[in-house]
């Protein structure tokens, strides 16, 4: 019996040594991959930052209003944000690659799933980013047009435009990831339909006078007469 126990212990010890001998090189490879990833991520980060500085990307972002949104959200400037994102994405990619080298089947499955989602997540983030730029640009254009035309509640116009573009961008991003595709489409259609109906009812019932005034302004002669005496010729 004593011999059996000793044999068992010896077997266990051998197994452990074998496992460690098998695992340690993989761990070393993982560490090397992660360290290489760190180096590559740093290089890519500085390279992207350099290119963005060279192309004056911050100025473009400032013009489009994206920098303003980032400042409001207490985020770093656009150049910094993009280069940091690239750093973390590269580093994360290498880390996951390193972990997969360990050869743990459950982990490998999850990692391969995550890898498959990576391009979709990247595209979704890009869609959201373009959505932010477009919503800022268009809402500011709507605000200026409404202010200069003398419409009531210009911020409501501008806010509505921003909201619609945001909803559109979010639904496109979610669809890109493939998250509850049918639900997103249905929710978006219902939501947009409801907003349009609400606006139609509000304008038709609540704003009858405004509707009348607007039509008179554009179609009736009264409007034309009024317009004529509004402002002196600038040129």
């Amino acid at each position: 019996m004593r011999e059996t126990i000793l044999l068992g212990l010896e077997q266990a010890y051998e197994n452990l040594v074998h496992m460690i001998a098998d695992f340690l090189p993989r761990l070393a490879v993982m560490v090397v991959i992660i360290l290489t990833g760190l180096l590559v991520a740093f290089l890519l980060k500085y390279l992207l930052r350099f290119i963005l500085h060279l192309t004056r990307f911050d100025r473009i972002s400032e013009e489009a209003g994206a920098s303003h949104v980032l400042r409001k959200a207490d985020l770093p400037p656009m150049t910094e944000l993009l280069s940091r994102s690239l750093f973390w994405m590269t580093f994360l990619g290498f880390t996951l690659l390193g972990i997969s080298v360990l050869g743990i089947p459950e982990l490998q499955e999850q990692i391969s799933r995550l890898f498959q989602l990576f391009p979709e997540i990247f595209v979704a983030m890009l869609v959201l980013f373009v959505g932010v730029l477009a919503s800022n640009f268009l809402s500011r254009a709507a605000l200026l047009a409404a202010v200069n035309a003398g419409y009531r509640s210009p911020r409501l116009w501008s806010g509505s435009v921003r909201f619609v573009v945001w909803i559109l961008a979010i639904s496109m991003a979610l669809e890109q990831i493939g998250l509850a595709r049918e639900t997103v489409i249905a929710a978006f259609s219902i939501f947009l339909g409801a907003v349009m109906l609400a606006l139609a009812i509000a304008f038709g019932l609540g704003g009858r006078d405004l509707a009348k005034q607007t039509l008179e302004r554009y179609i009736g002669d009264k409007g034309k007469e009024k317009e004529k005496e509004v402002e002196p010729s600038p040129l």
């Binding site: 100025r59 400032e62 013009e63 489009a64 209003g65 303003h68 640009f137 500011r140 254009a141 605000l143 200026l144 047009a145 202010v147 200069n148 003398g150 210009p154 911020r155 009024k226 004529k228 005496e229 509004v230 402002e231 002196p232 010729s233 600038p234 040129l235």
Partner: protein
């Protein structure tokens, strides 16, 4: 020509059949069939009486008219003058008609005219707008004579205006262009002008024709180019200008986007020239150098004031990012003033424009949005002007304009400081 610009085969054929000319009058048009016949007749009458021996051509550049404008140009005939005895001229008076696109574009039309002037080696050219209903032979002669007979290269028009007309020119374009570029040309933006073949060739060779500023207001760009390149410039008084009845005119937002946009763009492209110029010099003027009529114009002042006030309130975050802190604070204060005691003085107006020009240069905002954000403030200044000059005589208005110009010249170092400031 720096970048590819192709004239149509038909236009080239017409130009070759004309050969060389002394005088060229350009008529950019778009659906002007009602008035352009009369304009062509007036131009030909000017040729017959003022330039009987010169080789002349009228070039109509049409932007896709659907009312037969080009046909009217070709078929217009000069009615026989009772005093003439049959033969009026031994030369052929050429007319060229060309269509450049399906939609009007001032830049393409102007460039085509310059190319025609260059190819025909025209000595003096004039551009006349068929939108004006009261063109006389004196107009055309006044624009051509200084170039053809007195060696000027650029002739800006001067008009007799009702006192509330042309307020953008009076309050912004003239004072700012005078202070920066150093020449006292009142109508920096006009659809009528005269220029030499030399200036036409110079402008044609500039690599700017694809920029939006030049596309929308090429006349303004040409005026500033002539000033900056030290071409001899002058002004010629034309008389009252009356738009065609029923035409809506240019609205404030479009006018600001086109003219102020081009002025700011020229400030940027001619930076090295204007930064070195100090003060301003008058240019020779043929006829009176100003004339205001007391003709009443119906103006809804209350609406202008309301638009200013709501604009300042709604755009306050935008204005904060464009204006210097003290200018912004002062504008916010002015916007709280009572309608009857409102005053948007020349110091504040000048500093506002300097801040806007610098913000345009630093691209602090999308440039088109920036120009649109100026409109409410312009309305504030206009309201102040209208309030102040309800009963003013033309001389008083003129004195006030001069005060504004002097203030702009005084504030030029501030503009340079803001322009050069690092963002």
């Amino acid at each position: 020509m720096p970048e590819e610009f192709l004239l149509s085969d038909d236009l080239l054929r017409q130009l070759m059949s004309v050969g060389e000319v002394d005088l060229l009058v350009g008529l950019p048009s778009h659906n002007n069939a009602k008035t352009i016949g009369c304009t062509v007749e007036t131009i030909e009458e000017t040729f017959q009486h003022g330039f009987p021996r010169e080789r002349v051509v009228i070039v109509n550049v049409d932007g896709g008219s659907k009312d037969g404008t080009s046909e009217v140009v070709m078929n217009a005939t000069l009615p026989k003058h009772p005093s003439s005895r049959g033969l009026t001229s031994l030369r052929t008076e050429h007319r060229i008609v060309t269509r450049y696109a399906a939609a009007p574009s001032p830049g393409i039309a102007f460039r085509t005219l310059l190319a025609a002037a260059d190819l025909l080696r025209a000595k003096a050219c004039a551009v006349i707008s068929p939108e004006t209903s009261n063109i006389t032979t004196q107009w055309v002669g006044s624009l051509l004579q200084p170039v053809y007979r007195q060696n000027f290269d650029f002739v800006a028009p001067l008009y007799c205006r009702p006192k509330y007309d042309g307020l953008l020119a009076r309050n912004l374009l003239y004072p700012m262009s005078r202070a920066t570029f150093g020449r006292r040309i009142r109508e920096i933006h006009s659809t009528e002008l005269g220029f030499s073949g030399r200036l036409a060739t110079h402008c044609l060779n500039q690599d700017v024709w694809n920029t939006e500023a030049v596309q929308v207001a090429p006349e303004t760009w040409m005026a500033i180019t002539a000033i900056c390149a030290d071409f001899p410039c002058c002004q010629a008084f034309l008389g009252p200008k009356e738009p065609v009845a029923g035409s809506s005119g240019t609205d404030i937002v479009t006018a600001v986007r086109q003219t102020v946009g081009t002025l700011f763009w020229c400030l940027e492209s001619q930076e090295r020239v204007w930064m070195e110029r100090v003060g301003s010099e008058p240019v020779p003027t043929f006829g009176p150098d100003r004339e205001l009529s007391s003709q009443k114009v119906r103006v809804n002042r209350k609406r202008i004031f309301d638009l200013f006030r709501s604009g300042v309130a709604e755009l306050s975050p935008l204005l904060k990012s464009i204006l210097a802190a003290d200018t912004d604070a002062e504008i916010q204060r002015v916007a709280t003033l009572d309608e009857r005691n409102f005053h948007f003085d020349e110091v504040l107006w000048t500093r506002t424009l300097c801040d806007f020009a610098a913000a345009y240069h630093h691209s602090r905002l999308n440039r088109d949005h920036l120009l649109q954000a100026l409109v409410p403030l312009y309305r504030g200044r206009i309201y102040s002007f209208l309030l102040e000059h309800q009963d003013s005589s033309p001389d008083e208005i003129e004195a006030d304009s001069e005060k504004l110009c002097v203030e702009f010249e005084r504030q030029k170092p501030y503009l340079i400081e803001r322009w050069n400031a690092k963002t």
